[in-house]
């Protein structure tokens, strides 16, 4: 099998203006949505309480919401989580409410709404040990079960947001320095602009659909950043090689050649990674859902941006043969791993 039967270099750069205009529009739309809608941050960033409960039957979301709202904890969000029986309840931080009691109070109210009441009972743990647990109704016939709860104090939240921003900044700086050392500053700028545009677009999606932006989404975004820079690196590598090999080609032709000769690898690699990520999207359950969504968007836009955006920006920045092949003495440097590429 050979998917890509390309006879001649595809003139990607001829269409660079159009492609970049599309890019710029998407980017601006993303910025617009981030600015107007804002992000729906998870409680890890904002502080608050999350409670996940599992009902024996399909849960009545409206009744759950009414029950929790009656406790007066402020703005409550109630939604299904994965299946129709699992319910996720989000509560904001309230200064006047004792956080330690929130989960227990919500659970006991929910249990009461189901016509039962919470009691402490001996249950057998997975390890065979008897431990006490808060049970609604009788063991084995529980109306509603507490699956998971999470409380994050407001101070932790702001710290996480700061650390996240710091991680993003360090990643960008690190990648730029590496690209500048390995190639040239024009590539470094082009690469980072192209990939930041991916990051902004992912975040834009989260703003537009108001998907929950959690710590794991942030991790996905940073992983995508590192990963799509790969893409640019592969193309830049080829550009450098082509500059050496085909001395008669113009810069535009060199870039076209580099992209054409890597396009099949680009698509196959991303296809493979995408298969893994989609498997996570399908089988990973609700906890990994947005993580996988962020990766999927990131990988799709990663292809686009590194093929069409990064090289074009490098071109407009005026990358030249001399930039990459500075000293001709370097070509015969025995340590240069690319030395073999000279014809």
């Amino acid at each position: 099998m050979e998917f890509f039967r390309i006879r001649r270099d595809i003139p990607f750069m001829r269409n660079a203006l159009v492609l970049n205009a599309i890019s710029a529009l998407t980017f601006l739309a993303a910025v617009f949505f981030i600015a107007t809608r804002g992000l729906h941050f998870s409680i890890e960033f904002t502080g608050g309480t999350v409670i996940e409960v599992a009902y024996a039957q399909t849960a009545d979301i409206n009744r759950v919401r009414a029950t929790v709202e009656s406790l007066g904890f402020g703005e409550v969000q109630v939604q299904n989580f994965g299946t129709s029986r699992d319910v996720l309840i989000r509560l904001p931080v309230r200064g006047d409410v004792k956080q330690a009691e929130v989960v227990a109070r919500v659970f006991s109210e929910l249990c009461k709404a189901e016509g039962s009441k919470v009691s402490t009972q001996q249950v057998k743990s997975e390890k065979g040990a008897e431990t006490s647990a808060q049970v609604c109704g009788e063991i084995g016939d529980e109306r509603v079960r507490l699956q998971r709860s999470e409380f994050v104090g407001p101070s932790v939240g702001s710290e996480l947001a700061r650390d996240g921003a710091l991680a993003l900044a360090v990643t960008i700086a690190g990648i730029m320095i590496y690209l500048a050392l390995r190639f040239e500053w024009k590539f470094s700028v082009a690469g980072i602009i192209a990939n930041l545009h991916d990051v902004i677009i992912i975040v834009g999606f989260f703003a537009f659909f108001q998907w929950e932006f959690s710590l794991s989404v942030l991790a996905a975004v940073l992983a995508v950043l590192g990963y799509s820079v790969n893409e640019s690196v592969v193309i830049f590598d080829r550009i450098r090689e082509a500059f050496r090999k085909y001395r008669k080609l113009t810069t535009i032709e060199v870039i076209d050649h580099a992209i054409t000769s890597t396009i099949s690898r680009t698509i196959i690699t991303h296809g493979c990674t995408l298969m893994m990520v989609i498997s996570m999207l399908i089988f990973g359950g609700p906890t990994l859902h947005y993580f996988a969504v962020a990766l999927t968007i990131g990988i799709l836009f990663g292809v686009y941006s590194s093929v069409f955006v990064a090289a074009a920006i490098a071109m407009w920045l005026g990358v030249k043969r001399e930039d990459l092949i500075k000293a001709s003495g370097k070509d015969i440097d025995p340590d240069d791993p690319n030395a073999g590429a000279v014809v």
């Binding site: 330690a100 402490t120 647990a133």
Partner: protein, 619 residues
């Protein structure tokens, strides 16, 4: 040209074997076990306990797979849960003759079912994070300000003592925030006091100032001393937490310092969060003070007069007010233990306190001077104080062993002892993050993470094998080898695996295949340009390598900054991600090349390679 020297094959074989051995324990599953650990800080578990456990099992006619002492606890593994539960009863009966005062914690646990020889080479299964096994997680913030304030208060007492000893007159000692202010009437006594205090209390920096005809000496803790105080506070809180957690009987609790002023507590398997929080979150501190028994004070008790200067009003348990002097005699820091006991003469339950050397000395002085008077033991929880007990001092008490008795039931005595024990936190703590995961959710998460990796891997494998034929098969093998190495490294490091960690495994595999795609595409390209098969393989690998290196470095930069700045779930992701990048470099480049060399390298006149169709444009 496509041949590896012998040592390279040997290296690959060793890596494969080590990977297999350390991955193996993850495949065996778990067996029921009983774990014995120390129930009190004074009790040490050692090899002797292991032999006692063995004796107890022998006496009960139970057979364990093995009994071993390891890392502060004794573990015995059994074939089934029936034997496990019987064994637990037999062992607790043998080790804890008095169940009310247990020296050892005997808990049920699960141990890897892997054969013993694997354990002897330290091959253990990956340790699972709380989100995969269920349990409770707390992040607690230690209130450093109050630790420093407390230190300042106790230093004020020291200053007073030192000046009194040397007969140096001062016009008052007070605490201003976290520093001390000593007033003097004249400059002469200030100078001599300063010299004395600088010698005796090297932790303080003294500054002189003059204001409205009054000379003042203000002392603040030196930065390094303040740091020491804070470190000691966190350490003591961790010790106290350990003692409290022991009451829960959890088999593998994690209590660790995080950052300068935070403590992480993880209790796997615990489901009763209310009880756990009750025991952990008891942010109590203990103080011993004298009861104010002046006439004004008794008037204040009945409500007919103001509380006298230098005293405070607190409620005694049982809702009776009590006027207590402000001056602190002892704090929980000096209390090392509190246990219930029984006074055989008076036939009544008692609470027995043990004090450290400094506490014992102070206590001796105080009791000698105050026979017949009452002292109060106060417990402060979240800034609110309550008198736990206010016994009358009957005689001078030396040696640091204090017995409190009178008008108590056994239960009350046990309660008081528990409260006093937990009162020795150096600084209050507050829960700033809390997570509980039910056990069924944990099992579900494992299944989901596993499925994601499995199906994603299968899809990639099918595609690679179909598209690149033999080279694709080799790439798939290299990917499998990568997974093996990653799992074995994680098992070796015993870093806890979380759901984001499992996601990182999946993602890393998805990204790792990139290296093989790069190589295979390069080889095809070389073939397309008319290179001979052997040369194509050689050049393909050589030329793809720099690209692979570059792309992995950029991914690693992102991974490392996540590791440096991430916390909690992100850290779990970052650790696996970074390790995965390293193992993928090795497997995708060295291992797959090894396989290719083994297959094609020895054929001198190679006609073609099985890398799928190489399409050549017709000129």
């Amino acid at each position: 040209m496509n041949r590896y020297p012998f040592w390279k094959y040997a290296l690959l074989l060793v890596a494969l074997l080590v990977g297999l051995v350390y991955t193996l324990p993850n495949l065996f599953g778990e067996a029921p076990a009983v774990q014995v650990s120390s129930g009190r800080s004074t009790v040490k578990v050692d090899g002797k306990v292991a032999s006692r456990v063995e004796e107890a099992l022998m006496a009960a006619g139970l057979k364990a797979d093995f009994v071993q002492f390891e890392a502060g606890s004794v573990k015995a593994r059994f074939a089934d849960t029936d034997a496990q539960i019987k064994a637990k009863d037999a062992i607790s009966k043998a080790l804890n003759p008095d169940p009310a005062d247990a020296s050892y914690i005997v808990a049920l646990n699960l141990l890897s079912r892997s054969p013993h020889w694997l354990m002897t080479v330290n091959a253990l299964p990956m340790s699972l994070g709380l989100d995969l096994r269920g349990g409770v997680h707390f992040l607690m913030q230690v209130d450093m300000k109050s630790a420093l304030t407390k230190k300042a208060e106790s230093l004020a007492g020291d200053v007073r003592l030192i000046l009194r000893d040397k007969n140096l007159r001062h016009a008052g000692i007070s605490r201003d925030g976290q520093s001390l202010v000593v007033r003097f009437k004249d400059r002469g006594s200030l100078a001599s006091a300063r010299k004395l205090l600088e010698d005796e209390l090297p932790d303080l920096n003294w500054l002189e100032s003059e204001e409205a005809g009054e000379t003042k000496l203000s002392g603040a803790l030196k930065p390094e001393a303040a740091k020491r105080v804070q470190e000691a506070a966190v350490k003591q809180n961790i010790t106290t937490l350990h003692n409290r957690v022991n009451e829960l009987g959890v088999s593998e609790p994690v209590i660790q310092q995080q950052g300068a002023d935070r403590v992480v507590v993880q209790l796997p398997g615990v489901q009763d969060t209310a009880k756990a929080k009750d025991i952990i979150g008891r942010t109590a501190t203990l103080e011993v003070r004298m009861v104010d028994e002046s006439v004004e004070a008794s008037a204040a008790v009945s409500g007919s007069g103001p509380v006298p200067l230098g005293s405070e009003r607190y409620m005694e348990r049982g809702s009776q007010p009590l006027i207590v002097k402000r001056q602190v005699v002892l704090t929980g820091e000096n209390l090392t233990d509190a246990q219930t006991g029984f006074d055989s003469q008076a036939q009544e339950p008692t609470v027995n306190l043990t004090l450290d050397a400094k506490g014992a000395r102070i206590f001796k002085d105080v009791t000698r001077d105050n026979i017949g008077k009452r002292m109060a033991i106060l417990l402060f929880e979240k800034g609110k104080g309550e008198v736990v007990t206010a016994p009358v001092i009957r005689a001078e008490i030396g040696g640091g062993r204090v017995q409190i008795s009178g008008r108590m039931t056994t239960n009350e005595a046990a309660d008081t002892a528990l409260l006093l024990r937990s009162g020795s936190l150096a600084a209050p703590m507050e829960i700033i993050e809390e997570r509980t995961i039910g056990p069924s959710l944990g099992a579900e998460n494992i299944a989901k993470g596993f499925d994601s990796v499995l199906y994603g891997f299968a899809a990639i494998a099918v595609f690679m094998c179909a598209y690149y034929l033999l080279f694709g098969t080799i790439s798939t093998l290299a990917l499998a080898f990568n997974l093996l190495l990653l799992v074995s490294v994680l098992s070796m490091l015993q870093a806890s695996l979380t759901l984001p960690g499992m996601a990182a495994i999946a993602l890393t595999l998805g990204m790792a295949i990139d290296a093989n795609v790069l190589i295979n595409e390069r080889v095809r390209e070389e073939l397309r340009n008319g290179a001979s098969p052997q040369l194509a393989i050689h050049n393909g690998y050589e030329r793809a390598f720099t690209t692979i290196l570059d792309s992995n470095v950029t991914t690693l930069i992102a991974g490392l900054s996540l590791l440096a700045f991430g916390s909690g779930p992100v850290r779990g992701f970052a650790v696996v991600h970074c390790l995965g990048i390293l193992t993928s470099m090795f497997s995708a480049v060295v291992f797959s090349r090894g396989l290719v060399n083994l297959w094609y390298g020895r054929q001198k006149k190679l006609k073609g390679v099985s890398i799928g169709q190489v399409w050549k444009p017709v000129a």
